[in-house]
Symmetry: C2
């Protein structure tokens, strides 16, 4: 099975309002809730692609109950670790007219040292059955900043390929533990390496410890730098829509391609097509399967010549 | 005891952010939750003034559980009626720099006909022990728009003085059932009567059925029109702060003054002082007791000569 880790799960709440006006009062037209956090989004796409998938991380309090209720009975399988604190909410306020979204993210519950130890034990057991693992998103308060380095090492020790998708200091520490793959976006990559030139920055990220680096560059598609070579994958067009979850769908494309043994160009094409099909889907974080199948053969992948 | 009715209770959530920027992503610095809805705010102030107070209305779902948890063990007494739907949330996003608030209010759970009947039965029983009742706030979906007219009639039938604080069509219908007191703000009064001239509008509201009308006019204080006369009460100064709950504190001042048999000028002074002390309190919907006691003797109440 495939394992995804979401240490800072979230109850994702979407509000539709006619238009968000600062310092005014708004009556919300519609309220929707989904189980969120990057690893949960990745897991749903992996399940939709036909992979047996398990989610772990933390959940607690009344919002944690609601989140687990939303996961119940559907793939992926819930292996979240209970905590005393309350799972955070995220509020996405969508303007009805423009479709533009204003995002409010709570920080998440404080995780105790005992809860972190309980997670490490659960994670170790889950790794025994995992074909690959994705470590996704921000760290809740109380989790050590080197958490991902520890989880990467544990996966490597168990012989399980590990993908890391985070940002800031947790990425900087995690990458030094030599994950098989990191998937930063342009901002995360620039923050890590100090460079906004993708070729240079992906090479730098590999030198920092990642076996392979796939940078997601929005409309410029994705750039993969790996021991096997360097490829750029471009979507066939620029798509208008809701980019929420597009990066998570790309992670699912890369992880599934890795365990299926696909060559790099096919992995990238899948990641780019899934990402675009997520932007095109009406609900945030879902992907449009028809659009995905339509786009997949249209993704243009080119190999870069190695630098002199 | 004093009874307050909040048909559309709410879990009031406050987020502090550096500044709310439409279509940007925000990390919330702090999250606080309180049991909300106008009647709950009124009841807390009544309790703080030393009155035995009971709250009723609806609560359901996980947010209803959280709300009841926040009420537990403290006055006022919880006599909320359980419903299958989920109690709404309200989100107040406070800009740290300016203190300005952006409000997002969910619509509330759908109430079934059976749930409404269960409420009417519970309300009838509670009226038997009530010295006065305040009917407060908006109606959740499914509750008949004439709900407050029905509740006013039931209170009058039981000989219990009834205060109505709502807006729009529920106010229009409710006022025709002849409540003892309504407390519209300037906008609600203008919507009801078509007039922005307070003297004219309060007279019109009385003709529509209210025994007495107290209009809350912000910095212009309050205007009371009653069979005993017409008074204007002015705060000693203009106060900067968070106006959330100021109107609810005024309702508590008026209701407590009514059951204590205070003359109109004293009721109005109490309402204006409580209202100002709520604006001055650091937490939304609380009042600053020291400020209240300081302001009370400073409120200027003048009697208007009757219209020719």
């Amino acid at each position: 099975m495939l394992l995804t880790v979401t240490l800072n799960t979230a109850l994702d709440i979407t509000y539709h309002v006619p238009a968000l006006i600062p310092h005014a009062s708004h009556r919300v037209d519609s309220v929707t809730e989904r189980a969120g956090g990057k690893g949960l989004n990745v897991a749903r796409v992996l399940s939709a692609l036909g992979h047996e998938t398990v989610v772990t991380g933390f959940a607690g309090g009344t919002t944690g109950e609601v989140l687990r209720g939303l996961l119940a009975g559907l793939p992926p399988t819930d292996a979240l670790v209970p905590v005393a604190g309350t799972t955070r909410r995220t509020i996405a306020v969508v303007d009805a007219a423009s479709g533009d979204t204003t995002q409010l993210n709570e920080p998440g519950p404080a995780i105790s040292a005992d809860e972190w130890d309980a997670f490490l034990t659960a994670y170790g057991k889950l790794l025994a059955d995992a074909d690959a693992v994705a470590l996704c998103g921000s760290l809740p308060p109380g989790v050590p900043v080197g958490a991902y380095a520890q989880l990467v090492k544990q996966a490597r020790g168990a012989g399980v390929p590990v993908l890391l998708d985070t940002s800031g200091e947790p990425l900087r520490r995690g990458i030094a533990a030599r994950p098989d793959l990191v998937k930063p976006n342009a901002d995360e990559l620039a923050q890590l390496t100090g460079s906004r030139e993708p070729q240079r920055a992906t090479r730098d990220a590999r030198r920092r410890g990642a076996h392979a680096v796939v940078a997601s560059l929005g409309a410029e598609g994705m750039l993969a730098a790996s021991p096997e070579g360097t490829w750029q994958a471009l979507p066939p067009a620029r798509f208008e829509g809701n980019p929420t979850g597009a990066g998570d769908s790309a992670v699912a494309g890369l992880l599934s391609g890795l365990v299926e043994g696909l060559p790099w160009p096919d992995r990238l094409a899948r990641a780019v097509a899934l990402s675009a099909a997520t932007v095109l889907a009406p609900a945030a974080g879902e992907f449009d399967r028809e659009a995905y199948e339509d786009l997949l053969p249209q993704v243009l992948v080119t190999e870069h010549t190695p630098p002199a």
